[in-house]
C-alpha cells in the first residue's frame, strides 16, 4: 500500500519533470529539469530494490553526463540572456498527430499483453544477495560481450573527442 503511494508520487514527478524538460523556454532550465528527472528515476530504482542501479544512475547520468550537457549549453548561451524565440520550423499539428499514433500503439500493446500474458522468468540460478552482486554476476558472465563492446564504443568516442578538440596534433 505504502509502496503504491510512493510509486505513483515518484512517477508523477518523473513525468512532470520530463514535460518541463521539453516545454521550458530556457535551455539551461531544461537541462536542470533533466537532472531532477534522473534523480526521480533513481528513486524509482530504489523502490524496485535495485539500489546499485540507483546509485549508478545518480553517479553516471545525473553527476556525469548531464554535467557535460550543461557545459555545452552554458557555453553556447554565453552571449547573453536567452531570448524567447519561436522555432519557425515547428509543426505543432504533425507532432500532435504523431503523439496520438503513439498513444494508440501503446494501448494496442497493453491490450495484447492483457489478453496473452507473458510467462514469468525463472529466478537466477546463482544464489546471490543484493543488487550489486546480481548485476555483477550477470554483467561479467552472460553479458560479457556487450559489456566489452560498450567499452570499445566509449574509447572510440573519447579518441574522437580528443581529435576534434585538439588544434595541432
Amino acid at each position: 500500500m505504502g509502496e503504491a503511494i510512493a510509486f505513483y508520487t515518484i512517477a508523477a514527478f518523473v513525468l512532470g519533470f520530463a514535460v518541463m524538460v521539453v516545454s521550458t523556454k530556457d535551455t539551461v532550465h531544461s537541462v536542470l529539469f533533466l537532472v531532477l528527472d534522473f534523480l526521480a528515476v533513481a528513486a524509482l530504482y530504489v523502490l524496485l530494490g535495485a539500489e546499485f542501479l540507483a546509485a549508478i544512475q545518480v553517479l553516471v547520468y545525473a553527476g556525469g553526463i548531464v554535467v557535460l550537457y550543461l557545459f555545452v549549453v552554458m557555453l553556447v548561451n554565453l552571449k547573453g540572456f536567452p531570448e524567447e524565440n519561436r522555432d519557425p520550423h515547428r509543426r505543432t499539428k504533425l507532432g500532435l498527430g504523431l503523439a496520438a499514433a503513439v498513444v494508440v500503439e501503446l494501448g494496442a500493446i497493453l491490450a495484447y499483453d492483457y489478453a496473452r500474458p507473458v510467462p514469468q522468468l525463472a529466478d537466477a540460478a546463482i544464489p546471490v544477495v543484493g543488487n550489486t552482486e546480481e548485476v555483477g554476476w550477470l554483467l561479467y558472465t552472460s553479458y560479457l560481450i556487450p559489456f566489452e563492446i560498450a567499452s570499445m564504443l566509449l574509447l572510440v568516442a573519447m579518441i574522437g573527442a580528443i581529435v576534434l578538440a585538439k588544434r595541432e596534433l
Binding site: 536542470l32 539500489e51 546509485a55 549508478i56 545525473a62 556525469g64 554535467v67 550543461l70 552554458m74 550489486t132
Partner: protein, 340 residues
C-alpha cells in the same frame, strides 16, 4: 514506533547540528593553525582566544544586505549555494561513528543508517555537488565567473575519476560496499586499510584535496588570480553557504578517509589484546580524533605549499593519479584473486 521514527530523527538532528557547528569551527581552526604557522596568533579578540569568532562571522554574514545582481537567473542564483551545501550534509547519513552501543537500555547504532551500497552513495552524492559550482558561475551572468566555474568543475570531475578508482580498490579488499561493513572488515583483518592499500590512501588524500578545491589545488578560487572565481557575484549569506560548503566537503573527505583507511571507530591496533586498555576511549572519540588529524593536515598543507597552475593540476590528475589508481586496482585485484 520509537525505533522507526524517533531515534533516526534524533540521530539526524544530532549529526546535522554537530556537522554545522563543526563546519563553522573549522573556519576558526584554519585561521588559528595558519596563523601559528606564520608566527602570529590569529583571531584573539572575540571571546577568550577567539573562540567566539565563528559566531561573530556567522552573525555578520547573516545580517549583510542581500545583493542580487540584475538580470541573473533568480532561481538558479539562489539554488546554487544550496546545491553546493546539501550533498556535503547528506553524506553523513551513511558515515558510521561507532558500532552498536547501549544507551538508556536500548541498543542504538552510532550511525544514521547502513545501506548496502553506502560507499557508492557517498560517491554519487559527491558528484551531484559539482552542480552548485557550475550553476553559480552560470547564474552570475558574467563572463569571468562562468569560465572560472567551468574550470573548477572540470577539475572536480577529473579528480573524481581518480578517487573513485581508489575506492574500488578498497571495495575489493573489504568485499563490501557498505561503510559499516568496511570498518568491520578492517576489524577482522586486524589492521587498518591504510597499511594494506597505502597507494590508494595517498591517491585518495591528494584527490580529496583537489575535489574540495583546497591548496595546492585552489587556483580556481585564488584571489591572486583574475577574479574571485565562481562566487564573485555572491555576498552575504549566499557566499557564506559556499564558504561553509567547502569546509563541509573537507570534513566529509576527512570522515570518509577515516572510515575507509584509518579503521573508522576502531582503536589503533584493534587485534593486539595488549592494548585493550585503549578501549576506555569510546569508539566515536577515536573516529573524531582521526578525522581531526586529517583536518589538521589539510590546513597544514594550505599553510605550507604554493599552488599549482591549472594545466599542471589537470596533468597531475589525468597523467599521474589515474594511471596509478588503475595500476593499484589491477594489482589489488590480482592479489585478491591469487592469494585470498
Amino acid at each position: 514506533m520509537i525505533d522507526l521514527f524517533i531515534i533516526p530523527l534524533l540521530k539526524i538532528a544530532i549529526v546535522l547540528n554537530a556537522t554545522l557547528v563543526g563546519v563553522t569551527y573549522m573556519v576558526l581552526l584554519e585561521r588559528k593553525v595558519i596563523a601559528w604557522a606564520q608566527s602570529r596568533l590569529g583571531p584573539m579578540r572575540v571571546g577568550p582566544h577567539g573562540i567566539l569568532q565563528p559566531v561573530a562571522d556567522a552573525l555578520k554574514l547573516m545580517i549583510k544586505e542581500d545583493i542580487t545582481p540584475v538580470r541573473v537567473d533568480r532561481w538558479v542564483f539562489t539554488a546554487a549555494p544550496i546545491i553546493s551545501m546539501v550533498p556535503a550534509l547528506i553524506v553523513y547519513a551513511v558515515i558510521p561513528f561507532g558500532p552498536e552501543v547501549t544507551l538508556f537500555g536500548r541498543q542504538v547504532t552510532l550511525y544514521i543508517t547502513d545501506i548496502n551500497v553506502g560507499l557508492l552513495y557517498v560517491v554519487s552524492v559527491a558528484s551531484v555537488g559539482v552542480y552548485g559550482i557550475i550553476l553559480a558561475g552560470y547564474a552570475s551572468n558574467s563572463k569571468y565567473p562562468l569560465l572560472a566555474s567551468l574550470r573548477a568543475s572540470a577539475q572536480l570531475i577529473s579528480y573524481e575519476v581518480a578517487v573513485t578508482l581508489t575506492l574500488v580498490s578498497v571495495i575489493l579488499v573489504a568485499g563490501t560496499l557498505s561503510m559499516v561493513g568496511i570498518v568491520r572488515a578492517q576489524e577482522e583483518a586486524g589492521v587498518w586499510f591504510a597499511f594494506i592499500q597505502p597507494l590508494a590512501f595517498g591517491i585518495f588524500f591528494i584527490g580529496g584535496l583537489a575535489e574540495t578545491n583546497r591548496a595546492p589545488f585552489d587556483l580556481p578560487e585564488a584571489e591572486q588570480e583574475l577574479t574571485g572565481g565562481f562566487h564573485t557575484e555572491y555576498s552575504g549569506m549566499r557566499f557564506a553557504l559556499f564558504f561553509l560548503a567547502e569546509y563541509a566537503n573537507v570534513i566529509v573527505v576527512s570522515s570518509v578517509a577515516t572510515t575507509l583507511f584509518l579503521g573508522g571507530w576502531l582503536r589503533p591496533f584493534p587485534s593486539v589484546d595488549a592494548l585493550a586498555f585503549l578501549d576506555i576511549v569510546p569508539s566515536w572519540t577515536w573516529f573524531l580524533l582521526k578525522s581531526f588529524v586529517f583536518l589538521y593536515v589539510f590546513v597544514w598543507i594550505r599553510a605550507t605549499l604554493p599552488r599549482y597552475r591549472y594545466d599542471q593540476l589537470m596533468r597531475l590528475g589525468w597523467k599521474v593519479l589515474i594511471p596509478l589508481a588503475i595500476v593499484n586496482l589491477v594489482v589489488t585485484g590480482f592479489i585478491r584473486l591469487m592469494v585470498l
